[in-house]
């Protein structure tokens, strides 16, 4: 009996022994989610400058690009902090899928690596990793989400035990693990006393006892020991400031959680009031896109630097995911539509052999010229980086389901044996 979701210890590592896949050594994953569809041509896959004015419309990047620490690899000018860290980063520029019509659908695809089947609800990458590796420390959950709950982020057929606990705001902590303000220590003790006679009648090894066990764990977790992981005041002001605003503070929370033993943290960058529509830069949404990019840049570079400083960069894989990219052409009001056939997702740290950029697109970032990476391949890369066999099967009840839909890790990025 594992009353605690994350009391699964090391998870199911049976596949590790005879692994023949290129094996990574990452222990944790921080998955930054840019909901809406990050425009690759305006960020990590810059091309010649375009023009979005209706009078002189020309397809191309919206911003000039700059050099990075990796010779020959350029990024947009609003990623100047991240540019310095590109030796620890790989912008995978050749991610491809065929779903562009709807955000939720593509979000599901990128999180699960699968198309909808109607027969199986596939688990998200976070749940798969939680399932396979468990938490690194039994006193914390394996999978925490900083963002809104949805089915794409859920455990699917793996079941609630591999689900996330979530928070939408770094200041309030996760629902269920944050005591209401008026519940003082005195009241906690009183509740404990009141609960005692109700628990006394519960026979051991019964369904009720299993629940009671889970309850004790839950109440313990709602205590100060777990909650302090969310207290950013414990960090120096220099560290806090290096991450930037609320999104950066979420990334800092993620680092603290990883440090505490959480295996997978998904952090959503959903502060859509910066430019109205967030990363979904249709129409006027593009006008202030640079503010979003700058915010991402500060937080991402801050996170990488901080992981490096704390000696955690090599064992923490940072992923920047998004549901699709955007075309080089501008729409009626100067914004951009959706493009799934070629877009960028970013990997950093995690002990991978980074090269700044992987895969090439054509002069307008529309077609993939070399090294296409499918969603299953991308998933396989993340799994392999965390030492999980990307060819193994998961079990949906009695039915084996391959952990990825035939994905192959990007061999060039894998550490040499």
């Amino acid at each position: 009996m594992a009353p605690l979701a994350w009391r699964l210890g090391l998870g199911n590592q049976s596949g590790l022994a005879q692994a023949t896949f290129p094996k990574g050594k990452a222990e944790h994953c921080i998955f930054i989610w840019l909901g809406g569809g990050m425009s690759q041509i305006d960020t990590f896959d810059p091309k010649d400058l375009g023009d979005n004015r209706s009078s002189s419309k020309k397809a191309g990047s919206f911003y000039p690009s700059i050099e990075t620490a990796v010779p020959g690899v350029r990024v947009c000018e609003h990623l100047k902090h991240t540019a310095k860290w590109m030796e620890q980063v790989t912008a995978v520029r050749s991610v491809t899928h065929k779903v562009i019509d709807e955000h939720a659908f593509a979000t599901n695809l990128v999180h699960t690596g699968r198309m909808i089947s109607g027969n199986v609800v596939y688990p998200s990458i976070g749940s798969i990793i939680a399932h396979e590796r468990g938490a690194a420390d039994p006193s914390v959950p394996a999978y925490i989400l900083v963002g809104y709950p949805n089915v794409s982020r859920g455990p699917g057929f793996l079941g609630t035990k591999d689900g996330y606990i979530y928070l939408v705001d770094t200041k309030t902590g996760p629902n269920g693990f944050t005591r209401p303000a008026d519940v003082t220590e005195e009241r906690i003790q009183r509740r404990k006393k009141l609960l005692e006679p109700l628990q006394a009648e519960i026979p051991p090894k019964s369904g009720l006892a299993d629940y009671e066990e889970a309850q004790k764990e839950a109440l313990r977790l709602a205590g100060p020991k777990f909650m302090r992981h969310f207290n950013l005041e414990e960090e120096s002001s220099t560290t806090r400031e290096s991450y930037g605003g609320e999104f950066g503070q979420r990334c800092l929370t993620a680092r603290r959680l990883v440090q505490a033993g959480v295996r997978f943290v998904e952090v959503s960058h959903n502060l859509n009031f910066l430019n109205g529509s967030g990363w979904d830069i249709h129409n006027e949404g593009i006008r202030n896109q640079h503010l979003l990019i700058q915010e991402l840049d500060t937080a991402l570079a801050g996170l990488i630097a901080d992981l490096k400083r704390t000696g955690m960069l090599d064992k923490t894989l940072v992923v920047v995911g998004t549901e699709f990219g955007r075309p080089a052409e501008f729409d009626g009001k100067g914004g951009r539509g959706h493009q799934g056939t070629a877009f960028s997702m970013v990997l950093a740290g995690g002990g991978l052999r980074h090269c700044g950029a992987y895969g090439t697109t054509d002069e307008l970032s529309k077609k993939i010229v070399e090294k296409p990476v499918t969603l299953p391949d991308f998933h396989a890369t993340v799994l392999a980086a965390l030492g999980i066999d990307p060819k193994k099967d998961l079990m949906d009840g009695s039915r084996p389901v391959p952990i990825t839909q035939d994905g192959t890790p990007i061999a060039d990025l894998m550490p040499q044996a």
Partner: protein, 1032 residues
Amino acid sequence: MKSPTIRLSQITPALLLASILPLATAATLQKGAEPSTNPTPTNDAAGNDVASTLPPPQPLLPKLTEPKVSSAPPVDRATLSPGKIRLELCFKGLSEKNTWPTTHPVADEVHEAAAFGFFELPHLYVDTGVRADRPNPLFVRASAIVNIPAGRHRFLLRGRGASCLFVDGKPILTTPFPPPESDNRPVTVQNQFLDLGPTFRFAPPGNRESWCEVEIESGEHLVILETIIGGVRGKGHNRPELGETVAAFSPEGSYDWKILTPEKTEIPYTDAGWEKYREQTENELAASNAKHRAEARNQSSEYWARRRKHATEWLSSTKEEPVPALPPNTPSLNPIDHFIGAKIAAFASQLSEAKSGSIDFYTQIQPILEARCRDCHQGGKAKGGLRLDNLATLLKGAKSGEPVLVPSAPEKSGLFTRTKSTDPDEVMPPKGDRLTPKESALLETWIKEGAHWPEFPPLPTEYTALCSDLEFLRRVTLDTVGVVPTPAEIEAFQKDTNPNRRAKVVDRLLADPRSADHWMGYWQDVLAENPNILNPTLNNSGPFRWWIQESLLDQKPLDLMVTELIRMKGSERFGGPAGFGVASQNDVPMAAKGTIVSAAFLGVEMKCARCHDAPAHSYKQEQLFQLAAQLGAQPIKVPSTSSVPMDKLHSGGRKPLIEVTLKPDTLVQPTWPFSDFVKDNVADSVAEQPEDPRDRLASLITAPENERFAQVMVNRIWARLMGRGIVEPVADWERGTPTHPELLRWLGRELVRSGYQTTHITKLILNSHAYQRASIKARREVNPLYTTPIPRRLTAEQIVDSLFTATEKPFRTEEASLDIDGIRDLSTSISLGQPRKAWMLTSTSNERDRPSLSLPRIQAVTDVLSAFGWRGSRQDPSSIRDHAPNSLQPAVLSNGIMGTWLTTLTDDHGITALALKKQPLNQLLDSLFLKLLTRLPSDVERKTYTEVLAPGYEDRFSSPKPAATPVEPRRPAYYVSWSNHLDPDATIVRQKQEAEARKGDPVTPWLETSWRLRLEDVVWTLLNAPEFVFTP
């Protein structure tokens, strides 16, 4: 503005608005909240003596910008009943453009209504009583004779669709057609909503409004309200919703508004007045809808009478299942107990027989069979047709007729001789190591001693006595209506001295409409009801929850319910079974539906067959596609995306586990794939329209000849009430064997005999001794002999609904919609209404991660539901919920947002009222325990709880300080919807709502703080007691 008798001239809108709405000037208000052609009177924005500047009161013709008939609708006063509104719905003659018709549309349907306050129309029911869509746009005309006193009154018209109000043939007010779709309309336009007095009800989201002042003579006036709902939106349509279509008036000299009504009773048009009116009208609508359904159903009563007759004939032409004699000393309340008792007695004797030999089957023989034989001899594809999973199949022998097991004669038993054979074609196992001499010897001895194979490993065979009355009441109430019993129900039951009081409770509960709620979540899971309130994407279906609910409310016979589902008629987007037929982004929706139908009604699991033949199931992909073609009523071509390429199958070198025998691009014809259950030709006489593939399919599934259907259905009911199916898993019978085949057959025939009434089966089970026995709390698993129940974990919905029921805290969430003002196309957004029960909730669908699209109160409740195994999104069907405990469950109850609402004593909390009652503490404790746990406190509990609550008990009352005078101007609460969610203000509004949800309602001022906090701790404890989430 102090006196209600103030003259209207002194409370001109401009005055009111200038004092109440500093943000909006009267001038901007006159433009209306949204693009409109409000015929508002010209006011003096400075608020001077307006009366003198008002235009002449009669007539106030609206400025009509759209083509509009100039004549009043020709309503014949003779058709109007006194005191009633004649409500006409007109389909024909309407333009596909958003314009008023040029001639007066004629009524296609006529209904009655009580007042000019409309929020929902009576549903249209077609076929056997399933909800259907009316044409869109729909023209609605409401006419009545209304008594209006003389005076210069203010009139108000609001509505979602374009509308027009006529008094005595003169149009006095109009509202415009809905605005175009938008996602970034400024939130602050809501500042311009009309505010026409201190008790005036602000317009709810998504209504246009206008007002005017009219001098009227005393007496009867003909009032007509016309509105066009739905309408065109780009290439699609608006949802055909009324919003809050209201005609109201404020009599001269008064601030207050009333809904116009031909009735004598006044209906105040205030927030409270509307709420009351709406609730009453909803109940009336529900009753009239039920009546209309019944009328529709009656249209096909002849056919269904024929089906009943057919079932009766079938019953009499087939062998009855005899009810076994009751073994001695077996408690029994009805025939179920005979079957259960006989099984227990038989098993007890098997056990004692088995003890006579030297071999123990379960520890010595079964491991050999499992290790050496089971791989090939299991499931529907067992080699030689021989399954080695129970004694009966072994005794029956192989398909070839070869005897496999002859008790006491190992030399005649293939099971033994084959293991010794030297013939390589004969020997078993055919590959791998031979049995060791020790294993052979064990087998030989076991057979020689008589091959004792008790049906189960040793199990307790002792019964418990009946549970206590209160335990029974809590258990049976949870199992029927899905919530804990109320204090009134407890009291009535305890007072009843009738020896049949338990049976009476069962009858009462099964007739209670709440019993529909209890089965909702179950069918939503099993049938994968998966609507999305925003953009249907992830294998979404329509919201056919409303059809499920109406079926359960009507206690529809199961065969009819299944037939309706498979016919998939009625409304797709608004709650008819057609919604079941939708599977968005699915390459073969009908194949997905096929897996649902086969598992739900026939216990045939075909998920694997969606793309390939499965190793563990005998049904092939072709059979699923035959079923899919029947459901689609046309041949289906297998797409390559529904297959597994052969090269992939064979990659890796090893023999693939799965096979693909149905090639992509094959055209599969509609064919009944389960001729082993019932022959296809049965449909010729049973189906209503045998030439229709869907009707054929429905009849073949539900015909009495198909005994599998009735048995699968009774097994589902049984499993839900008894904690374990007679066959497990309930949705995949190929993997299980019935523990009580005779009982299963008997119950199946009872279902047929009752006319497929599930309540008949439920009643039999609830009235059995087996159900009513005391539970043994120390056990985790249900004894398959059903000697004793165990505490069963409640479902997520039972937990949430019980928490609200027990505490009487109102279940208050947002409307389940992200388009509450109805400006999106009906194909992209729907509303699931105002949830009253857990099952009405749904995924909050915030895939975009936009704070402005969050629904914080719904989220707080769905967090609890999800932790306990509910799914907000049901991409696939599920018959078994995940019930394993995890720490998120107690966590979200004890410290989560919803938990905090329930354990904070507010004015509207039921425990607050209880605590304010003058009674001794002892009585309060009794009431608390009864109300929350349906039992009295134990002595220890009483002592502990008294210690906590006694101090300050007598002084627990507190007088609230006089409420501070509100300094904020009166203003409608801002709302966020799709239409404005990209406005940065929307995020701020939503985050404020999130913070408010987290904080909960203000605590009651009537209880002294320190004592209240202690009582809150007591409430917290009782709600968080593990026993709360289990049946007793």
